[in-house]
């Protein structure tokens, strides 16, 4: 189990350590997680968290741009950075005896990133290019509009990459201020998993990070999404080889007692996942939506997803419908499946499949130190490692009544946005 023999410690400066020793392979993974993401952004500065993440690869007062990438890779390691709604994370996985390099780099860029003005300008066009790549996909364009329609007040309403208008205007000093505010040890969690001695690793992390001064507590996110009152529809028209549907409902946060029933509900509709939405998947062909839509030939594909988040986020269902397909019927069948969840208890078999499938996903996810560290860190950003330890038990305790209750509570019209990207393709 991912949380077995986990060493947990908090340094005097507030940095939390999660260290897990495992000798399955001679490798180790180190992740540094910050509690900052698009959730922490203000209007006019959307995308600033993701841009800051990019700038942390652009050099520090000690090492020039490109040096981190080079140092990690020449030791056989791989690395990346990721920004999501609730968090930003940086990792490197290396042959175990070289993992110290990752600690050194993360400690350096927690304090010393330069945000050189020329590099900042170059990165502006890189990020706009990243966004334009996203814009090429109808699914992205639809998601952006539906997400904005799903939230009136909460910053979850904008995509992590930010609005293009903001990306054109955000200045170097905005980025730097964001970095200073959120990149502090007391706002971070360090996770190490791999072939080392746990105590020794904790000591090394303390050695690299222990002297970094604590920062002021980051400003809390005060926006609360008001009770939704209106059902909404969104439609985009554009070129495309198919029609795309996205339906969202407001969903419980990771800490909410309704979360595990919601995970089970999602599995009944679309198969088990590990730690949603980053725990793998690929199951779902025996689940209700696939049968009702894909097996029946109504849609080309269908997916449902919940996400473990700090604040209440979205339960989404998406489908791809062929150009001559019956869009109204697809929508009706999906909404019919949601009604069925409210009206009939799910079978024991379906529930067992969800639990066994999730257990398998946890086993697959435990095979690499990289995914173990990813799951531990992700859990500690939205809740904590205990929550992860109790995940499978929490899911196993869900009853058919619980699923019916959350279906009745969340899957209601006032809580829902239905979005379509309608292909106006004229066949060449």
């Amino acid at each position: 189990m991912l949380t077995d023999n986990l060493l947990t410690r908090t340094l005097a400066n507030g940095l939390t350590l999660l260290v897990r020793e495992t000798h399955a392979a001679p490798v180790a993974s180190f992740w540094l997680w910050y509690r900052v993401g698009s959730r922490n952004e203000q209007p006019g500065l959307t995308g600033v968290s993701h841009w800051v993440e990019h700038m942390l690869f652009k050099g520090t007062s000690r090492r020039p741009q490109g040096e981190f990438d080079r140092l990690i890779q020449r030791e056989g390691g791989h690395f990346n950075g990721m920004t999501w709604v609730d968090w930003t994370t940086f990792y490197a996985t290396l042959p175990a005896e070289r993992i110290g390099l990752a600690l050194e780099i993360e400690a350096d860029r927690m304090q010393n990133a330069l945000f050189d003005p020329t590099e900042t300008e170059n990165e502006r066009t890189v990020i706009i290019s990243e966004r334009e790549g996203n814009e090429n996909r109808p699914g992205y364009m639809l998601r952006e509009q539906v997400q904005a329609a799903s939230f009136l007040a909460h910053p979850y309403r904008h995509m992590v990459i930010g609005w293009k208008e903001d990306l054109r205007r955000i200045a170097r000093d905005d980025l730097y201020a964001h970095y200073r505010q959120f990149y502090t040890p007391n706002n971070a969690v360090a996770v190490a998993v791999g072939a080392f001695r746990a105590e020794e690793m904790a000591g090394r992390i303390e050695q690299f990070f222990g002297d970094i001064p604590r920062g002021p507590a980051p400003p809390p996110v005060r926006a609360q999404e008001p009770q939704p009152r209106a059902r909404r529809r969104v439609q985009l028209d554009g070129p495309g080889g198919a029609h795309y549907l996205l339906i969202t409902h407001h969903a419980p946060s990771a800490r909410d007692p309704d979360f595990f029933p919601m995970v089970a509900l999602n599995a009944v509709l679309d198969g088990a996942t590990g730690l949603p939405p980053f725990g793998g998947g690929g199951l779902g062909r025996a689940a209700r939506l696939y049968r009702a839509l894909v097996n029946s030939g109504l849609a080309i594909s269908v997916n449902a997803s919940v996400a473990a988040t700090i604040d209440p986020y979205l339960f989404t269902i998406s489908a791809t419908v062929r150009q001559d397909g019956d869009r109204a019927q697809v929508e009706q069948v999906i909404l019919g499946e949601l009604e069925r969840l409210k009206n009939e208890p799910v079978s024991k078999d379906e529930l067992n499949r969800a639990i066994k499938g999730t257990r398998a996903m946890f086993a697959y996810g435990s095979e690499s130190v990289t995914s173990q560290a990813m799951w531990l860190g992700f859990a500690s950003m939205v809740t904590d490692a205990d929550w992860l330890a109790g995940f499978l038990d929490g899911l196993a305790r869900v009853t058919p009544d619980d699923i019916q209750r959350v279906a009745r509570r969340y899957l209601i019209p006032a809580n829902r946005v239905i979005g379509w990207y309608v292909s106006e393709d004229r066949h060449g």
Binding site: A25, F57, E75, G76, H78, E123, N136, N295, Q323
Partner: protein
């Protein structure tokens, strides 16, 4: 210090066997995990299609998972998903492949379902129609994807008409529309041949048990009439510059591909090419191309180099996604890097960085059962030898700056290439 050699799969810990139908089996035990990965290749890919049948190998592979004489598609899904396992089939250029993954406790079940799908497929008519409809939509979507259109168009201009690597594995709307159930049955019986195949099993299962179970499940699988095409397609020749623009309406970004004919997996130039490609477009955030086009010019989120190998020669290609107004600037910068890597030897530092990266990253790529299985499968299929992984680092270290220069000059050119840009047309952007 960890002894890397003993932890890497090699002659000392890979168990080999052969089933009575000729199928070769490699097993690697890994009791650190709770799962088992099974992967296999048998001869029989798209190379066996006529041009009018493009997409047939792919549809045959999909339909194998769509029902057997004992269980329909729904029942198969019920059984695999009840235990959180996966089972899939795929068609490549030369291969027909299968892939199963489960908790160790469910290996017997998933192996039985794999064998049933391979030996007793039903090819149900209604599932063929649903699959056809889905592929036709994927082909409609392809016309609206700058990446897919750039790649499709690139292959069309790199390979001459009739070349088996020219077609899309997915097929074309007209060929997909014409596929009949009888075509699937014939392709399955005549073009998929278990005799020359390989299966690898990696995970929490003993080699003896794996071999016994595989013999029971697959030992009788035979296709006596099967005659898959063993031909190795010729390496295409390129003369001059071929420059093609593909209009994809309503897009924010254009995708560029610049490329050349590459090599077969068996070519001794494989290792120098691996090193050269990494320096050119992989190391760090995209090698020299990433440094120049992304970091210095700020033109693209992605700029890279990649090469594919197969039984026959694949392609070596550069790619980047840029704003439509920057297509020319980016292409020129990419070609300037080609000129540079053909003119000057790479520095000692670049060479040693990449050699260390390629050899040092091996343990990371061998962490999961599926990862190990993927390597073993290719080792068996391409006859790379049981000691391939053990000797890998030495082969990489043997590459010198002169070898890198030689392969750059032999395969890359700033005068002869295929350049495709797919994105909004000039009038539109």
């Amino acid at each position: 210090m960890v002894d890397l050699t003993s932890s890497i799969p090699g002659p000392h810990n890979i168990v080999m066997g052969r089933l009575s139908n000729g199928l070769r089996v490699w097993v690697y035990e890994n009791f650190e995990t709770q799962t088992v990965s099974l992967q296999g290749y048998v001869p029989g890919g798209s190379i066996n299609e006529t041009p009018e049948q493009a997409g047939l190998a792919n549809i045959t592979a999909i339909l194998l998972r769509r029902g057997t004489l004992k269980h329909d598609y729904d029942a198969l899904n019920e059984m695999t998903e009840a235990v959180g396992a996966s089972l899939g089939f795929d068609a490549g250029r030369h291969t027909f492949s299968f892939d199963a993954y489960s908790l160790a406790e469910d290996f017997g079940l998933i192996l039985d379902l794999l064998a049933e799908s391979l030996i007793l497929p039903a090819f149900p008519e209604d599932e063929l129609e649903k699959t056809r409809s889905r592929i036709l939509t994927r082909l409609d979507e392809r016309r609206h994807s700058t990446r897919a259109m750039a790649s499709l168009t690139f292959r069309k201009h790199l390979y001459p008409p009739g070349h088996p690597y020219r077609s899309a594995l997915l097929g074309e709307p007209e060929t997909v529309r014409s596929v009949k159930r009888g075509d699937l049955l014939r392709f399955y019986e005549e073009k998929i041949n278990p005799d020359d195949g390989v299966v690898v099993v990696v995970g929490a299962i003993s080699a003896a048990e794996a071999l016994t179970r595989l013999e029971q499940a697959l030992g009788d699988w035979r296709h006596p009439q099967a005659r898959p095409d063993p031909a190795i397609p010729p390496r295409p020749l390129l003369s001059g510059k071929i420059q093609v623009d593909v209009a994809v309406r309503g897009k924010s970004q254009s995708d560029i591909i610049i490329g050349w004919p590459g090599i077969a997996r068996s070519d001794p130039d494989y290792y120098p090419m691996l090193v050269c490609n990494s320096i050119l477009g992989r190391f760090g955030l995209g090698g020299r191309l990433g440094q120049r086009i992304r970091e210095e010019m700020g033109l693209a989120y992605y700029a890279y180099s990649t090469f594919s190998v197969n039984r026959g020669a694949g392609a070596w290609q550069l790619g980047a996604g840029v704003n439509p107004k920057n297509v020319d600037r980016a292409s020129e910068a990419m070609l300037a890097e080609i000129l540079r890597i053909r003119t000057d030897p790479v520095s000692d530092e670049e060479l040693s960085d990449v050699q260390r990266q390629l050899s040092g990253s091996l343990p990371l790529r061998l962490e999961t059962n599926a990862g190990i299985g993927g390597y073993l499968l290719n080792m068996a299929w391409y006859d790379l030898g049981l000691d391939y992984l053990v000797r890998y680092a030495d082969r990489i270290r043997a590459v010198g700056a002169d070898d890198v220069l030689r392969v750059a000059r032999a395969y890359l050119s700033a005068d002869e290439y295929v350049l495709v840009a797919a994105g909004p047309s000039a009038e539109e952007s």
